[in-house]
Amino acid sequence: MSVQQNYRTGATLAGYNFAFLDEQTKRMLRRAILKAVAIPGYQVPFGSREMPLPYGWGTGGMQVTAAVIGSKDVLKVIDQGADDTTNAVSIRRFFVRMTNVATTEKTRAATLIQTRHRVPEIPLSEGQILVYQVPIPEPLRWLEPRETETRKMHALSEYGVMHVKLYEDIAQHGHISTAYDYPVVVNGRYLMRCSPIPKFDTPKLNMNPALQLFGAGREKRIYAVPPYTEVKPLDFEDHPFEVERWPESCALCGAGDSFLDEVILDDKGSRMFVCSDTDYCGERREAGHTGRMSAPYKAEAAE
């Protein structure tokens, strides 16, 4: 059974409203989310609340999830692509305590996915909602620390500084030296930060059938990419956008098309590469795919 149903139906943690937030806060969030969807890529300011988890640990994503989630949802929470990293476990536990919704580790079975730093490998479908935890929503922040200035730059679509920055990268390094959090333009209008996902995941935002919502709690901004919306990485004709590739494939499932985590095996520099997306890797191994270090599983699967 891929979906874990929580049988204490209806009973959430005593003394707290469904999904923790009070209804007025949810209304404020819901209004902000609708405006964010109506203005793709624009960062809507909202009255972020203190959550019982620290700022910087997913409070924006959690507030968006809390405003959206209903008792029929099936929730998946990932951090670095994995469902069982500690912060993902902690956030999932929070929502189970506060809503009793069903949870899953299966990308396909989830209606609502909260993520930090990754977009799942398995393509999302219509009707799914992906909620990103965002630390710094402003794509121009490293180039211009003042909010009053960046707000004007967005109003005027003045994104020349970002082009200059990327161009200087090329001049200096021969490359655009941005490996994650790659700047994109949404629907031909707003420069947007895709939260720090690796460059590898950036193309997945483009024309995605799912609704993508972004929450930055500490910085108090919500933004969105509706389904089937153009999301274009900034690049140059002679230096087109490219994703990173690995010379290796996943040591466990053999995947050559997924984002790989590098695992150091000893102090002599030996290492292995494994899928960062644990659900994708598991699904492939279940289907009989093997990698060079999946010995016991391989023996079973191969016969």
Binding site: D22, R93, T148, E262
Partner: protein, 369 residues
């Protein structure tokens, strides 16, 4: 299978148990009660209430106990609890002129109407560890508890008679007041929002910023117009009754800092004010806050903005220790996906440089032959 940074439920559960055991410390030592913290660690409680934005000494003491004395953690606990509370009413502005004063000093005048009262202060203690406190049981008794009239004019207002100080007139009764707990900070930020931000701001941060204004980072020539601490009544309007009802007293510390202002083409030289207010006895906080408040008025007063403490975006965006602590500490969450992306990029770039170097060396070698 190797699992990176994946402890899951079990690891978290174990961590919570260890934390609880560690918090209690040696069980042979009697446990601290919340009441003991409230009564004997009261300055710590005051700070948690001020920066936690909740006036409740018991809850603040509980938060300090739970946080093992970690102030920022206790402030966070109180804030997270505050979020879940309904808003029942909005109080009338407190009237600090009607304060029941336990302490009142001014550095501007030798004496003033109503008098000065030193009150319970560390100020003139010699900072020598008092080993007598290691023994328990003694209950100190103060003689000569002074008291002042419970309606004392603000010292700064005494300067009003000559028009020497700017007047601060209250807004209209129904004028909107910003609330950062419900709306995001936007710029330009009004003084209401700035003061709320500073009242919730980290004391250490304000102290450093206020200090910087005294060392030339902003042209500041401050005098303590007045510091007063004591109890003030909190009232709420009951529309059905047609009058305000006193719902209790809170203790606050207020600081009015006086600053010189050179004047401009249209205005004669006069004194201006910086304002600080904190729950409980929190004089350092109130003083630092008043210095920073004044520095942030640079734009309004037509002064050049040259120093960090005058830069509203810088000061206000980084003042909140719950935000700052969370974001600094989030760096310990796994970032291996981003790091992997960087690693791949750096390796690619190094490989390209190595190839380019090898090529140019080969060319040089060829040329030499």
């Amino acid at each position: 299978m190797y699992v990176a940074v994946k402890g899951g439920e079990a690891a978290i559960g174990n961590a919570h148990q260890l934390l609880a055991e560690d918090r209690r410390g040696n069980p042979d030592v009697p446990e601290l009660s919340v009441a003991q913290i409230r009564e004997q660690m009261s300055y710590g409680v005051d700070r948690v209430m001020t920066e936690g934005s909740v006036y409740d000494p018991d809850l603040a003491a509980l938060a300090l106990k739970q946080a093992r004395g970690d102030q920022v953690e206790a402030i966070f606990l109180l804030r997270a609890y505050r979020t879940t509370l309904p808003r029942l009413a909005v109080t009338r502005p407190i009237d600090t002129a009607a304060m029941q004063v336990s302490r009142r000093i001014s550095s501007c005048f030798k004496d003033m109407p109503g008098g000065q009262l030193l009150g319970p202060t560390f100020d003139y203690t010699h900072r020598l560890l008092d080993f007598a406190l290691e023994a328990e049981g003694a209950v100190p008794q103060a003689e000569g508890k002074g008291s002042l009239s419970d309606s004392l004019p603000q010292v700064v207002d005494l300067l009003n008679a000559e028009g020497l100080i700017e007047r601060e007139l209250p807004d209209a009764e129904d004028a909107p007041v910003g609330d950062l707990t419900r709306e995001p900070l936007m710029f330009p930020a009004g003084r209401d929002v700035r003061l709320q931000n500073l009242a919730r701001a980290d004391e250490g941060y304000l102290l450093a910023l206020g200090y910087s204004t005294q060392r030339g980072y902003a042209k500041s020539h401050p005098f303590v117009g007045e510091i007063r601490s004591g109890a003030v009544a909190v009232e709420i309007d009951i529309p059905e009754l047609g009058f305000a009802v006193d719902i209790g007293d809170i203790t606050v510390t207020e600081c009015q800092m006086i600053n010189q202002f050179k004047g401009s083409k249209t205005e004669a030289p006069k004194f201006t004010r910086g304002y600080g207010l904190a729950f409980g006895f929190a004089e350092r906080k109130a003083m630092a806050m008043s210095l920073v408040d004044r520095a942030l008025r640079a734009e309004e007063l037509g002064e050049d903005i040259t120093a960090p403490a005058q830069d509203a975006e810088f000061v206000l965006y980084h003042a909140d220790n719950v935000e700052a602590s969370g974001f600094v500490q989030h760096l310990k969450l796994p970032h291996h996906v981003d790091f992997q992306a960087e690693l791949t990029l750096v390796r690619t770039m190094r490989a390209e440089i190595a190839t380019a170097q090898a090529e140019s060396e080969a060319e040089l070698a060829e040329a030499a032959q």
